[in-house]
């Protein structure tokens, strides 16, 4: 049997696609998918509007914000606040968008029956997952970079227009901001992928993800934690709380960030570790589910 089997083998080297080839295929899929552009575009756009445009317009009309004088509003939009202004949306609404993206990417492979088509080309399941996640990390890195670049550009314009000082943060601070932002973004994205995979679809995965990010976490932090000590401790393990703490740490502590969700509950180092653990757990669980299940 095996002797004849060997003679049946196709020309040597007939294997399935390599990991880089699969990443390339996934990037093509992401680039051609309107939802990618909408979700990834929304975050920097919202980021820009809420951290720069609205405060600046409000400053130029002379209004104050929560008792802080207009000058404080202007200061918050200047280049030295680059990292805070580029990332402050990530823990909450950025998280919601990226979780949605992850759930959409993973879940629709089930809805369209495309996962079986991909696997039928021959790659191992873990290779497929690795390729999809690497492609996701690539576009997320691009998005974080775009957010930093856009924020830098608009801040520079404001500083120029107001003849205000342009004290740019150092390269190390920007790099740390980029890395931290990418960690937060990837963690949200990977948790979305886990939800989409676990639920084999998009609708419920997105729904549950949004309820978690926008409702459950904020209820725990704002309602339960002040009342019960258990929740006071438990909130330190929530992904959103840690994302908020990490961004707060990256933003620097001299001026508090106004964006909801950006609160230093734990210190930055701890937050980074917890997020890393969430990321690793989400990836491992997704791989486990994918490897075990029947694909029908």
């Amino acid at each position: 049997m095996s002797a004849t089997a060997a003679s049946l083998a196709l020309p040597a080297g007939r294997t399935s696609g390599s990991l880089p080839a699969i990443v390339g295929a996934e990037l093509l899929k992401l680039a051609r998918r309107p939802a990618t552009w909408v979700l990834l575009g929304l975050w920097p756009a919202l980021q820009l509007v809420f951290s720069l445009v609205i405060p600046y317009v409000s400053y130029s009309r002379g209004s104050s914000y929560e008792g802080s004088p207009p000058e404080a509003l202007l200061a918050s939009t200047l280049p030295d606040r680059l990292v805070a202004n580029a990332l402050s949306g990530l823990p909450l609404f950025g998280g919601a968008l990226l979780l949605t993206l992850g759930a959409l990417l993973a879940g629709s492979e089930y809805g369209w029956g495309t996962l079986k088509t991909l696997l039928a080309q021959g790659p191992r399941r873990t290779t497929v997952l690795a390729g999809q996640l690497l492609a996701l990390v690539t576009v997320l890195a691009g998005t974080v970079a775009v957010s930093l670049a856009l924020t830098a550009g608009v801040s520079a314009l404001i500083a120029g227009a107001e003849s205000a000082p342009a004290d740019w943060p150092g390269a190390a601070e920007i790099a740390r901001g980029f890395g931290g932002g990418l960690l937060v973004a990837t963690t949200w994205g990977a948790m979305g992928v886990l939800l989409g995979t676990a639920l084999r679809g998009t609708a419920l995965a997105i729904g549950l993800g949004l309820v978690w990010v926008l409702a459950v976490e904020s209820l725990v932090v704002n309602v339960a934690a002040p009342l019960l000590d258990v929740f006071e401790t438990a909130q330190q393990a929530l992904p959103g709380v840690n994302a908020g703490s990490l961004v707060a740490a990256l933003a620097g502590s001299d001026t508090p960030v106004r964006t909801p969700g950006v609160v230093a509950v734990v210190d930055g180092g701890q937050a980074a570790w917890v997020l890393g653990a969430f990321l690793a757990a989400a990836v491992a669980l997704t791989a486990l589910l994918l490897n075990r299940r029947d694909l029908t």
Binding site: M1, S2, T4, A5, A6, S7, L8, A9, L10, P11, R14, T15, S16, G17, S18, A21, I22, G24, A25, L28, K29, R32, R33, P34, W112, G113, T114, L115, K116, T117, L118, L119, A120, Q121, G122, P123, V128, D294, L295, T296
Partner: protein
């Protein structure tokens, strides 16, 4: 017009229209196979392959063999377990027990050499036909030149730039077949490939399958369209409720024709024919004697009847279509609990 139970007379027309079919393996000398050709070479072997979902046994101890260079038809009614079996061959579904060997390796390990279209084309609606194939070509590790080649094969080059989501059902199906051919596979597994195709499309697929076989590939095809299987397959397996009812060549399966005899007195005729052929090959339908008998047996039947003083006023051989065989086989199984073990590889004969 003679009415036969459960049959529309139109089904007759399916008989005898089978076009010339290349003998299995006759043209299989192919660059891909360095070794000498062997008709008996199994490309797929399943050994008591079983899949259970909960308490439901969907595929039940299925043992069959697909030989190299043949078109193998996998036939069965809805829910018979065809798709589930094909999924197991591709490693998408894990068997509960038993095993499957594909191209000499455990199912799933050989997928890189198997082209498959299982349960409809699963492709990205927002991508163009061409981009869908580009994505899959990268997953398969084949060059971009294959994309143009398979688009051409399924005659979709003109529409390749349109989004898959805007394709008609038949175009989607054709793109799915194109995707299955990307890898230039040694084995092509197609689950109801003509689903949604118009008659011209069905003919095209048939031509395509012949070409694939002429190129030395092996094709496994599932279907419940018997006319199709009859025209294109060398051998078939019939499954129902997850169990193999028959595995044989199409000719064998169509097998014993039906001899319809108008004879008086009928009861004597039944007795005589029963003695000659065995009682379970004899039945009476609409006042005529229906015998499961090969053409060579016609003369002997006639002689026996006449010798017994039976008046024979009509005697004709009716070839059975695969359709009839299929309905008979699957009907037997679905009416009530089946007998302990349906006997594979043997035709069930006799009255219903």
């Amino acid at each position: 017009m003679r009415h036969r139970r459960g049959q529309s007379p139109a089904m007759h027309t399916a008989t005898g229209t089978a076009g010339p079919r290349p003998a299995p393996g006759s043209s299989s000398a192919r660059a891909a196979g360095p070794g000498p050709h062997d008709d008996g070479d199994p490309v797929v072997t399943t050994d008591r392959l079983t899949k259970r979902y909960g308490s439901r046994t969907v595929v039940d101890a299925l043992s069959l063999q697909v030989r190299r260079g043949e078109v193998f038809g996998f036939l069965g009614p809805n829910g018979a377990g065809k798709t589930t079996t094909l999924r197991m061959l591709l490693g998408l579904v894990r068997p509960t027990s038993g095993s499957a060997t594909v191209l000499g390796r455990p199912a799933g390990a050989s997928v890189a050499q198997v082209g498959a279209l299982v349960e409809g084309p699963g492709l990205y609606p927002y991508l163009s036909g061409r981009d869908n194939l580009r994505v899959l070509a990268r997953y398969a590790g084949v060059g971009a030149d294959r994309v143009a080649a398979v688009l051409d094969t399924v005659a979709l080059t003109d529409r390749a730039g349109d989004r898959f989501g805007t394709y008609s059902l038949g175009m989607k199906q054709r793109l799915g077949i194109a995707a299955a051919l990307l890898k230039d596979p040694a084995l092509v597994v197609l689950d109801e490939p003509t689903n949604g195709l118009d008659p011209a499309g069905i003919t095209e697929v048939r031509t395509l399958l012949r070409r694939l076989v002429a190129e030395g590939r092996t094709v496994v095809l599932s279907s419940h369209l018997l006319g199709e299987v009859e025209q294109i397959c060398d051998r078939v397996a019939v499954v129902a409720s997850g169990r193999l009812l028959v595995e044989s060549s199409v000719e064998e399966l169509r097998g014993l024709g039906r001899l319809v005899v108008d004879a008086r007195p009928l009861d004597t005729a039944v007795a005589v024919a029963g003695r000659l052929l065995g009682p379970d090959r004899v039945s009476v339908v609409d006042g005529a004697l229906h015998l499961q008998a090969a053409p060579e047996e016609t003369a002997a039947v006639n002689r026996a009847l006449v010798t017994a003083d039976v008046d024979v006023t009509g005697l004709r051989q009716e070839a059975r279509t695969l359709e009839e065989v299929f309905l008979q086989l699957t009907d037997v199984d679905e009416a009530g609990p089946p007998e302990p073990a349906p006997r594979p590889r043997r035709l069930r004969r006799g009255t219903r």
